[in-house]
Subunit: 456 residues, 2 copies
């Protein structure tokens, strides 16, 4: 049993570094060739840029197929960077080692001139599969699918089908066998196991299932993933507008989509680009990180300007400044909690407008109850600390109000963004907590200012 | 082609509600029977509790298998709630419609007495598969696997293997055929397609691959998912401590794990329980939501007490109170951004201690550059607003400092939590932003207090 896991990879990584330093190319090659492409990908990611290029060069000279498979697993962006130092001819030759979908993704991330040169060279060779894939929009089934899909003609028998399968070459993982008519319209599906269980002269039409889940070339990849995951499929056929079979998306690609989409949601909620990784060079990350920090600065200035309205009250009673951030902070956690559940609910398909009233009710209920509970606690703390009963009560009331605002804002803003076809995860804490920051300062300082003569 | 997607489900949902209101049981049954279990699960989730019980009751009387499959898709927790109103005898009978892993998950979520009664009834019937599964720890491969795994004896030929497969019953999705020795030790794997491509008298030993990725019954489900995803597997065999084949985890279960783990990470980062869903009843959610709000109240009071140290400075110069939240807020976005990328990096396996120095360097670089950029902007705004040059400079310096603190805290806290075997996603904004809140108030108000005589 191959030993798996991070510890093994760390050991290999250490050896790769040592062999690179020693210049022991044959030993290095030997070690690299023993790795699974996915493990190589992780090793490449953890090497420094210089080491990565050196290791890739050693491997690609002797075992182009493995090197390219590892490159695919590294991801198209970083994979293309490793390829980009080579000539268009060499790249075109190496890309032939990959399935069309992986090749297309890499070409798409090469520098523009290079990718144009590679496409010219590759067209006559692989018969256009790659070029056509690149014509579909990004993040659609068309981009994700493998166009080399094995299909059976509907007038075959079970025995003929098995023979056809035995003669087929270069077919990616076969578990569902799709059945097409003479114009390649998708008409059914049959499993390999079912073919084996019936007498060889059984017509395919009799044993196939005519109800096939399929997606269109322009279906969004998230919807593709949703269907594969919901219906527990291993693959889903992709058809064009006329229901002609044009490709297949397999479950391993769907897993990548699910992980990417989850990363995107998590990171956007945290105010980070959806595709940032821990090892991205800081210069590349700077623009997006700084954009959100600038936006946050803008919202902070907005909140400060609300405080500015009450500067004279604070001048009169500096204690107000001490308690002021508490109300805003409590609104912040409440909006973040609500928006997080709502955004995830939208992604998982649970949060739709048909359940809006129930969700809003739930959040308002939570706003009232937690607002009352926390309001009592903070009023007690403030009273023990400063001994001002009225101030403590104002604090509690402002906190409760802010929790209710949080419930409404946290539920509605993500839904509104979705309605405008903006990713709801963009409703990161930066945007939504602006409301509760501003309202929190306003309600607490406003109430205190109204009642200030009783506070002195 | 079955019409898929949310729109279709919404239409069915509407009809289900109407038929329930009309009491048109035969029509309702007819409609429900046409749905895929996954679609039924979504419909059940969107119905109110009363409607859900009514619809489930109609279906379970006539089509127990479909009803139970839908229940499984609803998830073990809510599924168990729907079952819990029935007698132990009936539940035991219905559970036989499900694979052992799904049945075990449901039993595990029944009220304690009921689940004990069901287990007694079920033991003699399914031969213990369910009972044994429940002995493995939650969230391990043992809990996730299907124990009914089809295996071939290593001394068979290809032809005999196909015959064995044809005679096997009740085998979940077969694509990899595992090969075992006479004591059921896992010794190899062969694909169905490969069996078909060789002459029937070829010994299995000659065509099987002896290197099989496998996991142990006690392997954490996240590690199972990582291996299936990295190595693009459709299933992974599960072995016991002696390498005996005891089950198989299929890719559809892995997809569920990946989605659950992503939901857990997203929600914990947002200060919400990992398994909360938008439609959870508010009463059930209250304790955990309120716990985080109370913790947040504690950290807010801590920050307020820092401000309290400088109350006399604020009394002297109320303008300080206006700008004070800006420094804290900028530290907040910076820690959130950093911690989000680091937490996700840990989950994806990219963030390890071996790359800590590179990540810390990246975050510090970003802290300096964005700190300088935003510091300049806020200094200009403050100067234009209040006309106090020194105050503007203090603001800029405090902001820069806080960005550096954010870089360190956001990187180290999640890693430290992981080292202590706590989920790093618990480093939700509530915990980590405490540091930058406190430090932000302290540095800005502290600097201003030191230099206060030049500010007046």
């Amino acid at each position: 049993m191959p030993m798996a896991g991070q510890r093994r990879i760390d050991l290999v990584l250490e050896s790769v570094r040592r062999l690179l330093r020693m210049g022991a190319t044959p030993n290095l090659l030997n070690l690299l060739q023993k790795q699974h492409p996915a493990d190589l990908a992780q090793i490449f990611s953890e090497l420094s840029e210089r080491e990565r290029h050196a290791a890739f060069n050693v491997l690609v000279e002797k075992n182009g197929k493995l090197a390219m498979e590892a490159l695919s697993e590294v991801g198209p962006e970083k994979g293309a960077q490793l390829l980009a130092l080579r000539s268009a001819e060499e790249i075109a030759r190496l890309l032939q080692e990959l399935p069309s979908d992986d090749a297309a993704a890499l070409i798409d991330h090469l520098p523009e001139e290079l990718s144009a040169a590679v496409l010219v060279l590759i067209r006559p060779k692989i018969g256009g599969g790659v070029t056509e894939l690149l014509e579909y929009e990004e993040q659609t089934a068309g981009r994700l699918m493998n166009p080399n899909v094995f299909a059976l003609a509907e007038d075959l028998t079970a025995g003929e089908s098995i023979t056809a399968l035995q003669q087929a070459r270069d077919v990616e993982m076969v578990f569902y066998l799709y059945v097409v008519d003479d114009r390649r319209h998708l008409v059914g599906v049959v499993s390999l196991r079912r073919l084996l269980l019936v007498p060889p002269d059984t017509p395919l039409k009799r044993i196939m299932t005519a109800e096939v889940y399929s997606v269109r070339v322009d279906t969004d990849q998230e919807e593709v993933a949703r269907q594969v995951a919901s219906y527990n499929l291993l693959a889903i056929p992709v058809v064009d507008a006329e229901n002609k079979l044009t490709g297949v998306v397999t479950v391993d690609d769907v897993i990548d989509v699910i992980r990417e989409e989850a990363t995107e949601d998590i990171q956007r909620l945290g105010g980070v680009a959806g595709d940032e990784t821990v090892l991205d060079p800081p210069r590349a990350v700077f623009p997006k990180r700084n954009l959100w920090r600038l936006i946050n600065l803008g919202t902070a200035v907005l909140a400060a300007s609300v405080i500015g309205l009450f500067e004279s009250s604070i001048q009169t009673l500096a204690t107000l400044a001490v308690f002021m951030p508490i109300v805003a902070s409590m609104g912040g956690i409440a909006t973040t909690q609500t928006a997080t559940v709502v955004v995830r609910g939208i992604a998982l398909g649970d949060m739709t407008t048909s359940v809006l009233r129930r969700v809003l009710w739930k959040e308002l209920w939570l706003g009232v109850t937690t607002g009352a509970a926390n309001g009592l606690v903070i009023a007690a703390i403030a009273y023990l600390w400063k001994g001002q009963l009225l101030l403590s009560l104002i604090l509690a009331v402002a906190l409760l109000f802010n929790m209710l605002i949080a419930a409404v804002v946290g539920t509605l803003i993500p839904l509104a963004l979705k309605a405008f076809r903006v990713d709801p995860a963009i409703a990161s804490s930066v945007i939504i907590t602006t409301f509760t920051d501003v309202f929190g300062f306003f309600s607490f300082l406003g109430l205190a200012t109204l009642l200030i003569r009783f506070l002195l």
